[in-house]
């Protein structure tokens, strides 16, 4: 109702022709709510009489993103939220946990384009199950881009030192099955017997706000060997 109307719009929102708008209006509500259209869809061609209207088209890294062969298609996003509604991580963690303007699966691939260092952790917060890619109405290969961002961030050393060291150690261990099995048994035994202060301290971020799950009495591998051993 104020006389002044300022619309700030990312340049990727521009579409070629008015008649194309019907496609996007239909896609948006169907993918967001499952309804044929939103309650209010307003169109502004100019200010109301006696008022002022200003349109600010914002680039803020978008035109550079257009040049990233692996990532430019994320600019197709129409912000419907379908990827968030289907995402098992988003549905449990909620939008604030992403610490960025764009949350959910689409946030994982858009946020690092604005600041790789600040959002270096986000592409790792995914199970790569691909549900987001399946529901995306504009066919962005979201889970593939999440995976590609991990590679880019690791190559550029934007990941924290602790993560790099942990991933390197995990890589060594996972490439040696015998060593891996021995380590799992040792960890289960240790978890069952170590005093609390060894497990719940500043070094274990996973134990900061939650209890570590109870260690199983035997590993799946040893259970399988005992129950199904020799039978294929």
């Amino acid at each position: 109702m104020p006389k002044l109307h300022i619309a700030s719009i990312g340049i990727e929102k521009i579409i070629p022709r008015l008649e194309h708008l019907a496609v996007f209006v239909r896609l948006l509500s169907r993918s967001a709510l499952g309804s044929p259209v939103t309650q209010y869809t307003s169109h502004f061609r100019g200010p109301r009489s006696g008022g002022e209207m200003h349109i600010v088209l914002v680039d803020n890294g978008r035109s550079e993103q257009l040049g990233l062969e692996e990532f430019w298609t994320s600019l197709k996003c129409i912000r419907c939220g379908a990827c968030m509604n289907t995402c098992p991580v988003y549905r449990r963690s909620g939008g604030l946990s992403y610490g960025a303007t764009y949350s959910g699966p689409i946030g994982l691939i858009i946020d690092p384009t604005f600041n790789q260092r600040k959002y270096s952790n986000l592409p790792f917060a995914s199970t790569l199950n691909g549900s987001c890619t399946n529901v995306c109405p504009v066919k962005i290969n979201i889970h593939e881009q999440i995976y590609a961002w991990r590679r880019v961030l690791v190559e550029r050393h934007e990941t924290p030192l602790a993560k790099r060291a942990a991933m390197k150690a995990a890589g060594e261990l996972l490439s040696r099955p015998a060593a891996y099995r021995a380590a799992i048994v040792a960890a289960d035994v240790a978890l069952a017997h170590l005093p609390r202060f060894v497990i719940y301290n500043g070094l274990n971020a996973w134990g900061r706000h939650r209890e570590v799950p109870h260690p199983p009495k035997q590993t799946f591998h040893s259970w399988y060997h005992a129950n199904r051993g020799g039978k294929q």
Binding site: A22, V25, P36, V37, Y40, H43, S49, L57, E69
Partner: protein, 203 residues
């Protein structure tokens, strides 16, 4: 170089090298409904709107008069029916905050979605369609298009400064997935099919 030139130069430099000509978007109007009015009615009701059945004979505005009988403040921009708040005398949009019923005529409607198009020419003060507690929309059955693709071919999108599709009453389900009507706009939206009075053609 202005920021506009900088952005355009950067877009040109980074434009993906894909050969994709502008697509021809069809109008998706194969197999239109037998009656646009009854298709509109179904879509409107699906979105929580109320369809007022016109009387078979006599005063066509009877359903509207019944709705506003007990209302304190009625603001009408339609020539067919008078209110008691003259929209021409409104100095600032905020003055419409106490309106119980607003009555307006839609430029046209969309059968596929149950939407009515309300433009600045229909509303006089745009805020009347949002600030009123209840909205009653008069719609000429001859003004219904089959779908949104046809809708965007209408002249209103080229000659009005403001035009808005209203589809049922205000609704949101942002919090806990519970549908709430009327939190941000009108609590109810009713549509009465009634032809434009002679001498009141399309704006």
């Amino acid at each position: 170089m202005s920021s506009r030139d900088e952005i355009l130069a950067s877009v040109r430099k980074n434009l993906p090298r894909v050969d994709r000509p502008l697509p021809d978007v069809p109008l998706f109007d194969d197999g239109p409904p037998a009656s646009l009015l009854s298709a509109f009615k179904d879509s409107l009701q699906q979105m929580g709107g109320v369809f007022l059945d016109p009387p078979a004979s006599g005063d066509m505005l009877t359903p509207v008069r019944a709705k506003i009988a007990d209302a304190k403040i009625v603001c009408s921009t339609a020539p067919e029916i008078a209110g008691n708040r003259d929209v021409a005398g409104v100095r600032k949009p905020q003055d419409l905050a106490d309106v119980d019923f607003a009555i307006v005529r839609a430029s046209f409607a969309v059968a596929q979605t149950g939407s009515v198009l309300l433009s600045d020419a229909d509303l006089h003060v745009n805020a009347v369609a949002y600030l009123a507690q209840h909205l009653i929309v008069l719609l000429d059955p001859a003004d219904i298009v089959v779908n949104l693709h046809h809708a965007y071919g209408r002249p209103e999108f080229r000659d009005r400064r403001y035009a808005s599709f209203h589809t049922g009453p205000s609704a949101t389900a942002d919090i806990e997935g519970v549908l709430i009507h009327g939190a941000q706009g009108v609590r109810s939206l009713s549509v009465l099919p009634i032809a434009r009075a002679a001498g009141n053609p399309t704006h």
